[in-house]
């Protein structure tokens, strides 16, 4: 399959929750080859400020259109939010590995925190097509930021208690597992590093297989800038690159340093 490095046409760009958007663009080539967990490196402007592309998880594929989800953070996402149908964005991809949805497990436990929900509508669809049971735990700051579209069997946790479980998403999962029997589970988690670190510790403690989808500062997305290292737990090499060796990692392979969740 050919890699894509092209200006592609935006078909939709919608505010779907507080400061949270989905953007769709037309690309039959990418739609045909993207898989859950992969990402795209997107350039919003021909101007050199912002200079660099931004990595976005692919959140879904609908027909010939691909969708990303983003929250307003800085000038890159602000520029993205200004796009209207007919505008173009520079898209490089597909990039990175996929979630391990082909591994052997009974039930998928999805853990999403904040905009870390982005890759899960696509994964949910894949799991449903494979008839794999799934439970989703979604953490958000408050009710206004809950993005439930494309998810299934959803349990919400909010920091302020305005919807669902009052507290963090790992505590919500822990409470659930105390009351329910889940056969041969596997965790798929994406969110801020403190949440991923908690998911990692929880999975280790409960003996549950766990994959983490990591975010990192990134320039090129293709392994040439060496700008997105994540520390490895063991092995000859100290670091792995999020862009080419991830973004999905076995949680046992990753070491979270204090600095990474500052």
């Amino acid at each position: 399959m050919p890699v894509i490095n092209a200006d592609l046409r935006v078909t939709a760009n919608d505010l779907i929750a507080e400061e949270t958007w989905t953007l769709r663009f037309h690309s039959p080539e990418l739609a045909a080859q993207l898989r859950p967990g992969q990402f795209l490196n997107i350039l919003t402007s021909a101007n050199v400020d912002p200079l660099l592309r931004r990595p976005y998880s692919i959140s879904n594929v609908v027909g010939d259109e691909c969708e990303i989800m983003y929250s307003l953070v800085g000038k890159g996402t602000h520029a993205l939010s200004q796009k209207i149908p007919g505008d173009t964005i520079g898209v490089l991809g597909p990039l990175g590995n996929t979630f391990g949805y082909e591994k052997s497990f009974g039930t998928a436990i999805i853990i999403a925190g904040g905009i870390g929900v982005a890759p899960f509508p696509f994964l949910t669809r894949e799991l449903q097509q494979r008839e794999i049971p799934l439970i989703t735990f979604l953490g958000a700051r408050n009710s206004a930021r809950v993005v439930s579209r494309g998810l299934a069997n959803l349990h919400v946790a909010t920091d302020d208690g305005s919807e669902g479980f009052h507290g963090n998403v790992i505590a919500a999962l822990s409470a659930y597992l105390d009351d329910h029997r889940v056969e041969n589970p596997m965790i798929f988690a994406c969110g801020p590093n403190p949440m991923l670190k908690a998911a990692q510790a929880f999975a280790l403690d409960r003996g549950i297989a766990c994959e983490l989808s990591l975010e990192s500062e990134m320039a090129c997305g293709i392994g040439i800038c060496q700008g997105c290292p994540v520390e490895r737990h063991q092995g000859e090499r100290k670091f792995a690159l999020v862009c080419t060796e991830g973004p999905c990692f076995d949680s046992n392979d990753i070491l979270f340093q204090e600095q990474q969740h500052a």
Binding site: L52, R53, G227, C228, P229, R237, K238, Q259, Q260, A262
Partner: protein, 315 residues
Amino acid sequence: MNTTFTLGTMHLKNRVLVASGTFGYGNEAAPYTDLSRLGGIVTKSVSWLPRQGNAPTRIAETTAGMLNSIGLANVGIDAFISDKLPFLRALETSIIVNIAASSIDEYVDVMERLESEEGIQGYEINVSCPNVKEGGLNFGTRCDMTESITRELRKRTSRTLIIKLTPNVTHIGDFARACEAEGADAVSLINTLVGMAVNIHTRRPVLSTITGGLSGPAIKPVALAKVFEVHKAVSIPIIGIGGITTWQDAIEFLLVGASAIQVGTASFRDPDAAAKIAAGMEEYCAAHGVSDIQELVGGLRIPEGVAAPGFVKTR
């Protein structure tokens, strides 16, 4: 139209190279560009032993630029020769291996290992990395060290020898002169400028190493002035580097005195950027009746009676 360029014993098909550390070992970008359209590839720095590089955070975007502190992460000389060189050697473009080291002996050892390998046309010597504790900038900011390294390496190779200079000095022309005197075939400049970014929410430096190297369009005016300064100081060719993102940028560098250019950070935005720049330069020459791109080198028109700035020492 002639776009070729002979630099020492190396024949480049055009004036556009990709800069060290911004293009890996060629294989990573291969799916996204036609490598045969490049004048040459300057590899990621190679040191004697593998280097793991610095802890995250390694990069930070700044206004029209970026800071990096990679820390010369590289596979080491053995893995470079066994795993990376076979791919590079098969390409229809010139291969320049960038060498980093923390002692003169290490530079010599790495070069001597590479001398027995086919498919390498030249070396670029990194005496100017701002992000490692030993070597790097310590060499590049001392004229006597730059001189010694050039002398020791020149003795040991007939391949093209390029010394990559740092802008983090008072008179870059003095360093270029030292390289020329010791037999370097060319100097390349500029490496990154030392810079810094701060997170006001955590009140911490953004980069794990506090400071890093600034690159991208933000540094282009500085790079042009440094190339201009060095062009007045030496007669060996200059390879211009610093924020080149478009073919127009590249032409500017030729006019102030660069014989060739390197595309760096722009490749992170678009892995096809260097090939596009090469094509754009050819179109410019065709449109302006330039039959040999060499006509542009140093072709800056300074109005009569305007003197060069005081810090520029003419040879």
